[in-house]
Amino acid sequence: MMQLLNVILVIFLVVCAIAVERTKDLLGAVIIFGSYSLIMAVLWLLLRAPDIALTEAAIGAGVTTILFIGVISRTRRME
């Protein structure tokens, strides 16, 4: 059961990583990148690294997304 969850999460992670690179809309890419970070945090937790999971959830899904959105609001939205 745990292994199945792991495989599903990793497949979703790879799909997210490819989608970030493919998306032309930069705001959408940033939101997909936030979900990538959230999945990565769950994966760190499953790998028994709760310390890194905490940091990834706070930095990757929170602060990095906000900083990227701040940069997009100062420049163009479309690539």
Partner: protein, 140 residues
Amino acid sequence: MDDLIVKTITRLIVPFIQLYGIFIILHGHLSPGGGFSGGAILGASIVLYSLSFGLEKASKKLSHEASSIIESAGILWYIALGLVGIFMGGYFLTNRAAGFPMGEAGAVISSGMIALITLGIGAKVASTMITLFHTIIKED
């Protein structure tokens, strides 16, 4: 941005986020987490506040100059605590041999200066997040 739902939810949730961040900073030597994670959570709470209430109102709570001073004070606190070890005849960041009280293992007040150093790192990281956000968002 002027949205009632966002403002109300932010006003409700920001104290709990800050309490969680302070909990993680203060328990850095006992449980997962520490200065970096807790400081990032603390900084994210202030960023959330300034996103929903505007930069002027957030600057009234914690101005740019104050966060710069806290940022510098955090790293100076870290260096000062590290130099205590050298002055007591050990290496940089010497803990027990420099005479810090060790306390009881597993209690919140234990492990000598690690808790104090984590406090400094937390202040440094939190104010770094706020300063970064202000620097990017601020109109020039």
